[in-house]
């Protein structure tokens, strides 16, 4: 009985995302963006410890699939790079993580989205996730586990974590693809009944991040499974992961509502 009352203590603490906007405070480092600037010098690329910055034809591009949010570029060149608290950074294509987004990929992206929508039509409102760690640093697991806490409470959206891969619709993979996990990961993927959506969570899973290359990692999980959705971040935040799951299901609202009352 005392626990029942205790459970009522703080009222409703659950986020109303995605119906209403929610997120982290403005000081939070969600992603790096390239700001409007003048004539970048060529050596910008050397700033980045993971090689996420490229300068091509005078255009600065930042690959969020490599960016570990270390702030080195933002500190050195605040005129070119800046942090945003936005968490909706997941993409349906690897190339879509490069900012500013290249315009001509839009058409291809629409095709990818249509294909994915057809595949996931059967599981939109009730979906089960199986998580596999393929050599993570342990932080991403915390953020995934946070999705079931009362603040995010993904059960309200019909999203559940499942123990058996045979009951799962989404394979959520973390880690830089350590050599010892490639076979167990591929085997888990085989045990999932189709249709399956594979999400690579975090820059380690996308590109190997800072921990690759090494003799024991393979530069991301792409070596073992085909990925449908990429979520940048080191680690990605719970909101970022939730956005990726909804993106995979085609459930991200096109027009966003007003802030929660």
């Amino acid at each position: 009985m005392p626990w029942v009352l205790r459970g009522l203590r703080d009222g409703v603490v659950t986020s109303r995302y995605p119906r209403y906007d929610d997120g982290y405070p403005p000081t939070w480092h969600g992603a790096v963006e390239v700001l409007p600037h003048e004539g970048p010098p060529a050596e910008l690329g050397k700033l980045c410890p993971t090689g996420a910055i490229e300068v091509e034809d005078g255009q600065v591009r930042l690959d969020r699939g490599r960016c570990i949010l270390c702030a080195r570029c933002v500190t050195a060149r605040p005129d070119v790079f800046g942090f945003t608290a936005a968490f909706q950074t997941a993409g349906l294509s690897r190339g879509g993580l490069v900012v500013p987004v290249v315009a001509e990929t839009d058409e291809a992206l629409a095709a990818v989205r249509d294909g994915l929508t057809r595949r996931v039509r059967a599981l939109r409102r009730s979906v089960h996730i199986r998580h596999v760690d393929a050599g993570s640093d342990g932080a991403v697991e915390w953020e995934i586990a946070a999705l079931t806490n009362p603040v995010y409470d993904v059960h309200r959206l019909g999203i559940f974590f499942t123990v058996s891969p045979r009951h799962a619709d989404i394979l959520l993979v973390t880690g830089a693809g350590s050599a010892g996990m490639l076979d167990p990961l591929a085997e888990t993927r085989r045990q999932l009944p189709d249709p399956v959506v594979v999400i690579a969570a975090g820059v380690d899973a996308i590109s190997g991040g800072l921990v690759s290359p090494s003799y024991a990692t393979r530069g991301g999980i792409g070596a073992a499974v085909d990925v449908d959705v990429w979520v940048p971040g080191s680690p990605p935040s719970p909101f970022g992961l939730l956005h990726a799951i909804l993106l995979a299901l085609g459930r991200v609202p096109a027009r966003r509502g007003k802030a929660a009352p």
Binding site: T27, A139, A146
Partner: protein, 497 residues
Amino acid sequence: MSAVERVPTAQRWGDDVVARVSTGQRLAALTGSAARGGTRLAALLAHGGQLDLVETVVPAGSDGYPSLAERIPGALWYEREIHDLFGLAALGRPRLDPLLLPLAAGTPRPRPGARRSPATLIPEPAALPGHVEGPGVFTIPYGPVRSGVCEAVEYLVEGPGEDIQHVRVRVYAKHRGLEKRFEGMDPVTGVLLAERVEGVASVAHALAFAQAIERIAGIGVPPAAALVRCLYAECERIANHLHSVIGLTEAAGLAVATARFGYHKEQIMRLLGEASGSRFGRGVITPGGVHALPAIAPEQLLGRLTRLGRAVDADARALMGTPSFLDRLRGTGPIPHTLAAAHGALGPLARASGLPEDVRSARPYAAYDRLGEPSGQARPTGDVLARTQQRWAEVRDAFRLARAATDALADRPDPQHELAVPVPPDASGRAVGWAEAPQGELLYLVELAGGRLTRCKPRSASFHNMALFGPSFAGDITTDFAFIEASFGLSIAGVAG
């Protein structure tokens, strides 16, 4: 390092280390490094606020070095690790099972510290010993893909049925080869990798690494930076201890308690995220200081810490007054004082078994000498209950220390004061850095030549304490497994390296 002792032969080195341990010194780490003409072995020994390094060189072509594990049980996992990484045998040890890197015979080893390394190494499960077999004996293989959202690890639970007689831990699937990855990096990049060695203890790892670099360069950290380091490290401790408790309440099926502590943990991580930009406090600590002050004003931060501390405390008291919960913890997963002491156990786990050592008071760093000693100490019965009580005592302490650090930050007269001292670009030398991570004593043995890392050995408390996981199952049954695992509060990433 307080003292460095070089011993000419491996035999005398072994005798020396054993003699030191028999006088009450604690073997804190045992590690190797590729050196000219062979492999350099280094033993770190802690005693009364000192950390001595005793080393020798095992010449190339020799069979190995004398095993210490017979006389110092805590050395066994280090000897297995050295065998995996350097191919060096511990003589007198009949079976040195692979731990981090099972490889087929004759495969070249990564040899951290050497210029060259194999480009890729594929683990060979056939190199691992088989599981027990016999009439009426079961092995329950559990992992590496396990139930729930957790890190990849394989447990082999062996016993005649419900009773667990033996648990073997296999962590190699997660091995990432990080020690080699550090090599060639500059310290400013190295600290970013250190944050990713054991992601849930990012702040502690950055802190221990940065302090090793600062010791090499002979620089001190600005007072405000030291305070910020303590503040974030204590927030990290609170989050980790709450995570461990959530594991326990989940295993006990206490849904409301799980939700409550999940909410508290989310709040402390959001606080850290708002203050530092990262929910894990990443990208703040740099060799020489910190990048920024908290983005929350000290008065506001103080208020939020106080409110959150009160809420956590109230729920913790309710939890520790719930008999059905305590019944599951009492007497479960015992680590008696003698076992903990013989192994040189670390952190809250050791303190719950009556070994009070805490790096924050034994070898104070950052601003801990100014903030007051951590004093929390549970009744050391060594079971899951004692470990849980110990964590609550430490959570209360952590809130107090975080508030003290915030207070001191608010008192600073000039907010624009420098926050970091530059590290000389050509710094060279070797040093050990340490921190009390939420899991226990964390060590970084770092070598720098011309401003580049030539060797970096993180030794997490997770690695050291994980060796006690199997022995703690004396007389427990399979349903106790989740409780014992959560009560250890370790990170597999920190074990596998």
